[in-house]
Symmetry: C2
């Protein structure tokens, strides 16, 4: 699926991007209008347009505005809303999520598939390739235009900080992540990497529950408990890429051992496994979250009592972080959110009780809206790198060297 990347093809890509950018900005344009805006020669422009139409990236329409009987109706060109441009992949612990946006930067499709936690990277990348392929056919006559891929934005579990675009910046982490090597081989484009929960925060802050907010705290309650921060209008990575580790804030001194090496972390109380274990220890019966949700919906006391306690711990932790950072919106995502008010109400009560009183009515609690593809969408945001939320995000050296992200680099 890779394509030639020599100087001529890069020049052509630059021209294509220029034309696509104009159509993204202005909407439908006639060939004449495009010519005025882009400054390309008539021959070059018509060549580029023929190719973009043949590829399905651009479609033609006859303008409705032309007065009858006054010559031929003008033909306008517009972005094909079904043509894909960028993909994001979230390599979560036990499943894979893929999303694609079209040339107008609208989400055109997403796909997910669960897998075992120990599936090797080679097979995960195979699966990713198949899921990306499955996005072909979404909408009417859609086709993910893989030839137009600029980069793949990827989320992985665990801390990512020193690495951008496969270039290590931290002496402790000087090898690229295996998934970067494998995906680069497969797609022939740069692979941008970040922590998948931080990417989910970015996704929610661009397309989801906190779209348009400048100070956002995102908490994910899943197999792990983690999160991400948008701080003063920028995605925050923290020194060494270690921000958003809300799951490892101590909530029970001397409590249960946590995978991180600490004890009594929020994750030992509020992860899926912790919640299900505690529920079963209290006499409840549920093998997974959907069964727990069923018990909650039936009004079962054991389930409600347990979630009340878990919610209180979560709310106390959120209050501490709120006092430190001062967000206007808290977004809560992850599978456990499906338990609804049984969890969100005790969270909100504890948050309001423990946050500094002057902030009580200034911070709002919302459920995530993007579901399990939030991380994949955040990966797309990294690729497009157009959100002001990314203004302080390091631009990878790969992007500077390999990509024709902006037409101005190819006059």
């Amino acid at each position: 699926m890779s394509q030639p990347r020599g100087p001529l093809s890069q020049l052509r890509r630059g021209h294509e991007e220029l034309v696509l950018g104009l159509l993204r900005k202005h909407g439908p344009l006639s060939r004449g209008e495009l010519g005025k805006h882009c400054g390309l020669s008539r021959t070059t422009l018509y060549d580029i347009l023929a190719e973009l139409v043949a590829d399905g990236a651009v479609v033609t329409a006859t303008s409705q505005d032309t007065p009858r009987g006054r010559g031929r109706p003008a033909e306008t060109l517009t972005l094909n809303p079904d043509a894909g441009q960028a993909i994001g992949i979230d390599f979560a612990r036990r499943g894979l999520h893929v999303a694609a946006v079209n040339l107008a930067h609208e989400v055109i499709g997403a796909a997910s598939e669960p897998h075992d936690a120990d599936l090797p990277w080679e097979q995960r990348v195979e699966l990713a390739g198949r899921l990306v392929g499955s996005l072909t056919g979404i909408g009417s006559g859609a086709a993910l235009r893989l030839g137009a891929l600029e980069a793949v934005g990827v989320g992985v579990v665990g801390p990512v900080g020193g690495q951008v675009g496969g270039q290590a910046q931290d002496e402790d982490e000087d090898a690229p992540h295996p998934v970067q090597v494998l995906l680069r081989e497969r797609f022939g484009v740069p692979v941008l990497l970040d922590n998948n929960t931080r990417l989910a925060a970015l996704g929610e802050a661009i397309w989801g529950a906190a779209a348009g907010d400048q100070d956002v705290l995102y908490l994910r309650l899943s197999h792990g408990v983690g999160g991400g921060l948008v701080v003063g209008g920028s995605l925050h990575r923290g020194a060494y890429g270690m921000s958003g580790e809300f799951g490892h804030i101590t909530v029970e001194p001397g409590g249960a051992r946590c995978d991180c090496g600490g004890t009594g972390c929020l994750e030992t109380v509020a992860s899926i496994r912790a919640v299900l274990d505690a529920y079963r220890a209290a006499g409840g019966r549920a093998a997974d979250v959907p069964e727990l949700v069923k018990a909650v919906r039936s009004g079962e006391e054991t389930a409600l009592g347990l979630l009340s306690g878990v919610g209180a711990r979560i709310g106390e932790t959120l209050a501490a972080v709120c006092n430190a950072i001062g967000p206007s919106v808290i977004v809560i995502g992850g599978e456990l959110v499906e338990t609804g008010a049984a969890l969100s109400e005790p969270i909100e009560r504890a948050l309001h009780e423990h946050v500094i009183p002057v902030s009580r009515h200034r911070v709002s609690l919302r459920s995530a809206t993007l579901g399990e593809v939030a991380g994949a969408l955040g990966g797309i945001a990294l690729v497009l790198h157009e959100s002001p939320l990314l203004s302080r995000y390091p631009a990878g050296p790969d992007l500077a060297e390999d990509l024709s992200m902006t037409p101005s680099r190819h006059p």
Copy 2:
């Protein structure tokens, strides 16, 4: 002390700033070199230089480099290291702190004076005027060049968020702070305002213990417990100006009532009053921090035991915030830091115990170095607005309208 601010005086100020900026950037320059850099006419430049020399802002020196016997030695012009340019004032709860920097943006003097917590604003501003006056005479033949004041940067207690330069941006806080009105009357220049603890954080991150760091957590242990954050290289205010409220993170659920309206806040355990009260309740005798410090230095068990417990609470809180934000440096300031290792060691132990293990050796704990004038210095930083840490800080409308901050606005 105010000066005419008509268009002509502003034009002249622009020229002055241009010349001062060139000397700040290049160091000593001859008149000819200055002429080449600044683009002003010879007559205008010589006029400006004559005035700056008469004011004491610029001093002349004879270059050492001129070969003997080859004409007159060249005269160079240089900034007077003793001439003041900007002042910052910290209106703390029980005292006033003032600092001044020279034209090279080096700190040239600072003064403090304690006062009662209920001293009216009029008298505080009077006192501020006197302290600013006292900075005259610092160093050899120094004189604070009040005529060159561009603005006064001021720290006050409590949340400040919606207000910049006297212009309210928050519907709840639409009146300027009384100190802004009074200071503007007195000095005739705009008054930039922020929370004084956040300004102390800024001061430490520019001139103090964390100079050069991009992700800094500053905690102040004083009559109140508060702090500030530098996040990804920017001073962070938070939505509604409510960041850095570390003192109101709950550390003892159901604990003592706090001034904020909550209970069991860190401030109820780690403020000066809380520590002295607990010390006396445990049988210790100390009326103030210096007496407590004396007890600590004599190795008194009661004092050491108490601080060990307080330090543990502080360290746990810092660990929670660290996990959320991922700073590389924690700076601790305020009077209680004078207790030394008796407090800092238990803080560090608890921090290391509760922070996520992978961050343990990545975050360093430091004592503040600027002392009680950190907030006043942060106020100066607001006025100069030259630190990259302020790149996301809102520029006040006053600055845009009144000030000739950049020569380019006066061609």
